[in-house]
């Protein structure tokens, strides 16, 4: 897919009378809340999306990410809180008055319209002249390499083709924000990586903000400028992908992100440069930042350590140590993952990189360790 057609006419919707600070933001959510009866779907969610940002809402199913997206689209009205698009208050506005477009999980193509007709639908609604619509439809179909499908109806298209039609239909009006609800979830695995790269390039060239909902962390971490991890209707953590990978703020985030080992315990002694955390498998040290301990001794806390930060080749640096029994060894490309059982029965993951020979085999008991700075203490005990 080439993106020249869209890049040639970027949306010129910068600074307005609203003032520069606000105009910088494409989207702002202020403490939005949505309940269905006694079930809270979205709870106190706040989010700021800068101009042309790629945001991924990541979380397990039922965490409220899709409801949040629907609130932004205007398909749901939040019970509380405010939504600003491009600095303009839109909380009460219906979808057709918002500067957004949305791509649905199953694409929601209109079965009775030809590809050309439904791609042009958005422009028709904006009451553009017929000649202009025909031109721009032709242009976008060509750039998405689906011009040959112009007269076909959705039923005769493949999954990949439908995805392109849905994207073309949403992008043609050049909205400020494009909302995508698991946009590649319905595609074959073999297609996903290519489509992800294309979409990322498209987003960068057009400068349209993307809000991408997914439960797949690979998607979120490879696409997002900003990753927002949600659980139980709340935002657990938001930040750059490496922030969330390397410094999970809660036990939930650490557990949800692949490759973390999560430990729960009690805050113990506070040393000059480290905290002692007492757990069922021993006492571990976490680095102490400047200032007082975040929680008083005795409080329940959790921490995590990444599987690749652990080693079986111990030195003086690796002061955190534990013994575990290897139960399985798995290979993911160039990564060799050891699954071990800790003395408290929990699973411990230990990753080795490179193609050297295995040192640990299933059944073997080993002592592993990691450095103080590899321990990531969570801000709160977590869910």
């Amino acid at each position: 897919m080439t993106v020249d057609a869209l890049a040639a006419s970027p949306p010129a919707k910068a600074g307005t009378a609203q003032g520069p600070a606000r105009a910088q933001l494409d989207l702002e959510l202020r403490n939005i809340r949505k309940r269905y009866g006694s079930f809270t779907a979205v709870d106190d969610v706040s989010l700021k999306v800068g101009k042309g940002q790629f945001v991924c809402l990541l979380g397990p199913s039922g965490c409220g990410k899709t409801t949040t997206l629907r609130c932004i689209a205007g398909l749901e009205e939040p019970d509380d809180g405010g939504i600003l698009i491009g600095g303009k208050e839109v909380t009460q506005d219906p979808p057709w008055k918002r500067d957004i477009a949305m791509m649905f999980q199953d694409f929601a193509l209109f079965p009775h319209m030809t590809v050309a007709r439904q791609v042009g639908f958005g422009l028709e609604m904006l009451q553009r002249p017929k000649v202009e619509i025909a031109q721009r439809v032709q242009q976008i179909l060509t750039s998405f390499e689906i011009a040959a499908l112009a007269d076909r109806k959705p039923a005769s298209l493949s999954g990949g083709q439908r995805q392109r039609v849905a994207l073309a239909r949403a992008m043609i009006t050049e909205p400020r924000i494009l909302l995508l609800d698991e946009p590649i979830g319905a595609l074959d695995y073999s297609l996903r990586e290519t489509v992800m790269l294309e979409l990322k390039l498209l987003q960068q060239r057009t400068g349209i903000s993307f809000i991408w909902v997914t439960h797949d962390q690979n998607e979120a971490f490879s696409l997002g400028d900003l990753v927002v991890v949600m659980n139980h209707a709340r935002i657990e953590q938001q930040g750059a992908p490496e922030d969330i990978l390397l410094r999970p703020a809660t036990a939930f985030v650490a557990g949800f992100v692949q490759g973390n080992n999560v430990f729960r315990g009690r805050m113990g002694e506070v040393l000059a440069d480290a905290f002692c955390i007492e757990t069922g498998t021993g006492t571990f040290l976490a680095p102490r930042a400047l200032g007082a301990p975040p929680v008083p001794p005795g409080t329940e806390v959790s921490f995590s350590v990444r599987a690749e930060q652990i080693t079986d080749q111990l030195s003086d640096r690796h002061v955190n140590r534990l013994t575990a029994t290897c139960t399985a060894v798995e290979y993911f490309g160039s990564v060799r993952r050891h699954i071990l059982e800790r003395s408290d029965g929990e699973v411990l993951k230990y990753d080795q990189f490179g193609a050297h020979a295995a040192r640990i085999v299933p059944g073997q008991r080993v002592t592993l360790g990691w450095a103080i700075e590899s321990t990531v203490l969570h801000g709160r005990a977590g869910a």
Partner: protein
């Protein structure tokens, strides 16, 4: 290769009882009917010569031709009325009634009257429409009129009112089904593409329910064309449609004339169905 054999002998044997039944009660009588309509001469026997005289006599009579036209206009009126009312009811049931329990209850309320026969339901209108009927009593009590309105019973208006109530749910049923099968995301997608609600209805919802509308219209068309009972009970003897003419001729022992009208009625119905199927691909109903 599939183990399901589309042309196994068992399939034909399974179809045989129904086919035999249809042959005996539908195909053979229709063939006889068409045959009788061409009988000439004075004697009523299978030896009669075949002629177009019966048809010529029918088409030479202005009154009969007016009756054909009147039947078509009346049926078209019914189709429009039941179509609009039926669509509104279907839309309300599917789009506005959120609770499944209420939807079922309301749907049953609409359907239950169909448990009684058409004739009984037609007769049930008499105490409503009559000079001392419920409608007139109500109007007079409310002061809307001084003397009872006679136009309801034994009138064209009365027939129309009764038939609308009889056939509206036939128009609504298929639309309910089609509306139910439209995924909500389609309407949402249209809204996010800047379509306000009425445009969403006109461009997305209505075109997708069109096969249901047409099927409902075909049902109403066929039923109204062949409904002689309502016309006879509500219209008295003052009003008649083609189907009543069949009965009239039959009761007058004019079997050949009755056959002619019956054949013409069937041709009208066939033509109507063919036109309806040209408008919309009915096979899409299952898709």
């Amino acid at each position: 290769m599939s183990t399901i054999r589309p042309r196994s002998a068992a399939g034909y044997w399974l179809a045989l009882p129904a086919a035999a039944w249809m042959l005996a009660v539908v195909v053979v009588p229709i063939v006889l009917l068409v045959w009788v309509s061409f009988w000439g001469g004075r004697a009523f026997s299978t030896a009669s010569p075949l002629t177009f005289d019966n048809y010529a006599r029918f088409f030479a009579n202005q009154t009969y031709l007016k009756l054909v036209l009147g039947t078509i206009v009346h049926t078209a009126t019914l189709m429009v009325l039941t179509g609009v009312l039926g669509y509104c009811i279907a839309y309300f049931l599917v789009m506005k009634v959120r609770s499944p329990g209420w939807r079922l209850a309301l749907f049953l309320a609409f359907i239950i009257p169909f448990w009684t026969s058409t004739l009984i339901r037609a007769i049930a209108w008499v105490p409503f429409l009559g000079v001392n009927g419920v409608i007139n009593q109500t109007l007079m009590f409310a002061g809307a009129t001084q003397s009872p309105i006679e136009a309801f019973l034994y009138s064209h208006t009365g027939i129309t009112m009764a038939q609308v109530s009889l056939y509206t749910m036939m128009a609504a049923g298929p639309v309910v089904y089609m509306l139910n099968s439209i995924p909500p995301q389609l309407r949402e997608a249209a809204m996010t593409l800047k379509a306000p609600p009425f445009v969403v209805f006109r461009r997305i919802v209505f075109p997708l329910t069109l096969p249901g509308v047409v099927i409902g219209q075909v049902l109403v068309f066929l039923n109204v064309m062949s409904d002689f009972a309502t016309v006879a009970t509500i219209g008295g003897n003052k009003h008649a449609l083609l189907s009543n003419l069949v009965l009239l001729f039959y009761e007058g022992s004019q079997i050949r004339a009755a056959s002619v009208v019956a054949v013409l009625l069937m041709l009208c119905m066939l033509a109507g169905v063919v036109v309806a199927l040209r408008v919309v691909d009915i096979r899409r109903l299952g898709a």
